[in-house]
């Protein structure tokens, strides 16, 4: 029987070891990719706010 179908509960609550991590393509580090996602949110919200003001 495979491990996935097992009901054995997970026993660790520690975050994953960094050895499992691999860098994302193009950006080189996960932090840069996170910054891109958060930065695009900030730009989108700013644009939407500006649209609200222009068309109100």
């Amino acid at each position: 029987m495979t491990r996935a179908a097992s009901s054995e509960p997970a026993t660790s609550s520690e975050p994953a070891a960094s050895s499992e991590e691999e860098a994302p393509p193009i950006f080189g580090s996960w932090n840069r990719l996170y910054a891109l996602v958060l930065g695009s949110l900030a730009v989108t919200v700013t644009l939407l706010y500006a649209l609200s003001k222009v068309y109100s």
Binding site: A4, A5, P9, S40, L41, T44, L48, L51, V54
Partner: protein, 562 residues
């Protein structure tokens, strides 16, 4: 519906269901069925995550919501990209390392079995009901368009989804969702083009935006710190963040999608793709609704968009009173045309004074028209108490039926079907997995063959499909579908997220304490829902905060508890 519409609709449905069945013909182990073989690419995961969240309700209710209340609903999604980043950095590596099949497995290792079972039960409860609504939404469309009985339509959608979900499990669900998402995005993009195309030739996109803005439909970002306003920047960034953390981090429907990734990086990239695309995508769908609103400023809209109900009421004893209101509504529309002509003239000649006068006149006329629609709804409700008092879910489909060209009506119905099938397939897949892994295997049959669990998972998926179809039969009692789904989720998500946060960040808190905290917090959220007028997004914050606070207090009072 023309022959071309039927061809597009049936062709799309047959292609997707056939693809799912063909992909599902390969013999699988229970692990492959439940976790998809753990080899999916990031773009499949990303599209699958988006398709899971974008149910038919998204494409039916959201344009209607924008038509009625404007685009402020987009703020609900502001917390989502932040949640994608937080989950990618914390929970996803943890789940990947522990190699769990369901999110709730983690809780037994961290706390105890009863905490695992209670959170899994809360998931089954809210997701089971939510899936019923996901089936019901497209069923009302088909019933309205084709005149099919509602229960037959529920049955048709349910059976189609059950067929390929049971056949192929997690992997097939994700793969079919990739194509379903392409149909959905392509269909909505074409839909947007034809809504713009349907506007009068003298009205530009800019004019339509200005008109919608003048009538308060473009209040996209509201920064006022008000708790009684449902959608604000603050409720989106806090309540919306908690909803997204709970939905993507603890709801098995989504956890199952990214756990099928070939590696931690693939899972993370899939989530981050969703974080990048979600807000612009929702904006686009809401903008379609706003453009439909602009269109109906120039073309007389029906007094009530659920036209079958309107016709029934006109033929009843309430017909005379309703006809009177309809006549006043027509007069109001005629007056509005004069104000619109003034508005466009002022816009094109840049006459600010005349523009302000025309905008004020349009706003007043719009208030009068809205009052007449409200009066009509009251008459309808009085004549037939079972009638839905809100018709927002019928607005976009009415426009599609009456103004889309041949073939595109079929494509839009295919969009609705794809959305319904993708969301329902994910949900049935997750409900079946949770029932087998968290309940059947832990409490009923702890040791059996791999084939036994595979069959059990398939049977449970069928069972949940049948239950969802039954729930769908009773969903007509609910007014606005998208809000109903979000409110239902918000009642249960907060406390569940609280348990996971305590598990991750408060290592001293043990099982009994968090279990009691969960029970009390859940009760508190239900009472808040029943007794207060607080916006539903705050339920997530209240539920999560209550669990964390109670766990901290309980842990301080009973430090030796296990």
């Amino acid at each position: 519906m023309t022959g071309l519409d039927w061809l597009v609709l049936c062709g799309t449905l047959l292609a997707i269901v056939g693809y799912g069945l063909w992909k599902g013909r390969i013999r699988q182990t229970a692990d492959q069925y439940l976790r998809g073989g753990r080899d999916l690419k990031w773009y499949t995961i990303g599209l699958s995550i988006m398709a899971t969240q974008a149910s038919a309700i998204t494409f039916l209710s959201m344009p209607g919501q924008a038509y009625e209340d404007g685009m402020g609903f987009v703020q609900f999604y502001f917390g989502l990209p932040v949640a994608m980043v937080l989950l990618s950095a914390t929970i996803v590596p943890l789940y990947t390392k522990l190699r769990v099949t369901t999110a709730y497995e983690y809780l037994e290792g961290r706390f105890d079995r009863k905490t695992r079972l209670l959170t899994a039960f809360l998931f089954l409860l809210q997701r089971g009901l939510g899936t019923g609504l996901s089936i019901y939404a497209p069923a009302i469309v088909l019933s309205s368009v084709l005149g099919w009985p509602l229960h037959l339509t529920n049955l048709f959608i349910g059976v189609l989804v059950i067929l390929y979900t049971v056949s192929g499990g997690t992997r097939v669900v994700s793969q079919t969702q990739t194509y379903q998402m392409v149909v959905m995005l392509g269909g909505m993009a074409l839909g947007f083009y034809f809504v713009l195309h349907a506007l009068p030739s003298e009205v530009s996109f800019g004019d339509a935006l200005h008109l919608a803005g003048s009538l308060d439909k473009l209040k996209l970002v509201d920064v006022s710190p008000r708790f009684d306003t449902r959608y604000t920047f603050w409720s989106g960034m806090t309540g919306g963040l908690f909803v997204a953390l709970a939905y993507f981090g603890t709801d098995q429907t989504q956890v199952q999608r990214y756990l099928a990734g070939g590696s931690l990086a693939e899972s993370r990239l899939g989530l981050l793709l969703n974080g990048l695309v979600k807000v612009p995508m929702q904006c686009g769908i809401l903008l379609v609704g706003v453009m439909v609103f602009a269109f109906y400023q120039f073309h007389k809209p029906p007094l009530f968009f659920q036209q079958a109900e309107l016709s029934r009421a006109l033929a009843s004893s309430a017909g005379a009173e309703l006809s009177q209101v309809d006549a006043e509504f027509s007069q109001s529309f005629a007056r509005k045309q004069q104000h619109l002509a003034d508005f466009l003239r002022a816009r094109h000649s840049s006459d600010e004074v005349q523009l302000a006068t025309a905008q004020a006149a349009l706003r007043d006329e719009n208030v009068r028209a809205q009052a007449l629609r409200t009066k009509a709804k009251q008459i309808l409700k009085k004549a037939h108490p079972q009638t839905e008092s809100k018709d927002a879910d019928y607005i976009f489909i009415t426009f599609v039926k009456e103004h889309f060209p041949s073939g595109l009506v079929g494509l839009f119905l295919a969009v609705i079907f794809c959305a319904a099938m993708s969301a329902t397939a994910s949900a049935l897949n997750a409900l079946g997995s949770t029932t087998v892994i968290d309940f059947y295997k832990t409490t009923i049959k702890p040791s059996a063959s791999d084939r036994h669990y595979l069959i059990a998972a398939k049977l449970c998926t069928v069972l949940w499909g049948v239950l969802a179809m039954l729930f769908a039969t009773f969903a007509q009692l609910v007014d606005n579908l998208i809000q109903a789904v979000n409110i239902l989720g918000s009642i249960f998500y907060g406390p569940t997220l609280g348990v996971f946060l305590v598990g991750f960040f408060l290592p001293r808190v043990k099982g009994n304490v968090v279990f009691v905290a969960l029970c009390v917090a859940q009760l508190a959220v239900i009472l808040t829902f029943a007794l207060s007028s607080i916006g539903f997004l705050w339920y997530n914050v209240i539920g999560c905060g209550a669990v964390v606070c109670l766990a901290l207090v309980g842990s301080a009072l009973a430090p030796s508890d296990r």
